[in-house]
């Protein structure tokens, strides 16, 4: 089981590194805007338009493996606070 002593930032950064090093070339540009859940321990992942659905499907397959929840082509997966509308990174 992935150590849960990792901070939220560390979990996200490790997930981003896995995505950048092993997944980006095969997943972009066709999946821009979709949510991806990446299990840090195995590198396994799930993609969905809904981030919660991707998370729960991956959790069912990889229980106990903490995940990074990202949005393909964006630097955030969600927002809090009015007045902002996210645009793709490029």
């Amino acid at each position: 089981m992935t150590p849960t002593k990792l901070s939220a930032r560390e979990i996200v950064e490790r997930g981003e590194a896995i995505y950048r090093d092993t997944l980006r070339d095969q997943l972009e540009p066709g999946n821009i805007g979709k949510h991806i859940a990446i299990a840090l321990e195995s590198g396994d992942y799930e993609i969905d338009d809904d981030g919660d659905d991707a998370c729960l499907r991956l959790w069912a397959r990889r229980p106990g493996q903490v995940q990074a929840g990202l949005r393909i082509g964006y630097d955030v997966a969600g927002s809090i606070g009015a007045g902002s509308r996210e645009l793709p990174n490029r």
Binding site: A8, D52, A68, G69, D75, A77, G78
Partner: protein, 125 residues
């Protein structure tokens, strides 16, 4: 119909009960409805710890000031519209308890914006 109240500096509040998905620990909380929050439920990190909720994932988020932050997400059970449902709750470092648009999706929301005013959520289907 789900009801709440306008309270505390004109905030629209819903009173919710949440619990661990498989253990008996539960808590009552007051959550502010925030249309700028894209997810379902925001909770205090301390609540997640006290309920011993399992960490599912961490995510990057954009705050209202434009900054980027990182949050843990937890699986819990929420008593909502008369029944228990599984919800993934987000817990920011700075705290806060919010109901977001994902939980309200499919509902019509009306707020009587006066002290003690009624908050009503009605399923649209």
């Amino acid at each position: 119909m789900i009801t709440g109240e306008v309270f505390y500096r004109c905030e629209a509040i819903l009173r919710l009960t949440v619990k661990h998905p498989s253990e008996s620990a539960k808590a009552d909380l007051e959550a502010v409805i925030d249309s700028g929050f894209s997810d379902a439920l925001l909770i205090e990190e301390s609540l997640a710890v006290s309920l011993n909720l399992p960490v599912l994932q961490a995510v990057p988020y954009r705050l209202g000031d434009g900054s980027r932050t990182f949050m843990n997400r937890y699986l819990l059970t929420l008593f909502w519209n008369g029944k228990d449902q599984s919800v993934i709750a987000t817990a920011p470092v700075g705290g806060g308890t919010l109901v977001g648009m994902k939980l309200l999706y499919g509902y019509s929301l009306t707020i009587d914006v006066v002290d003690g005013g009624a908050v009503r959520l009605l399923r649209m289907d």
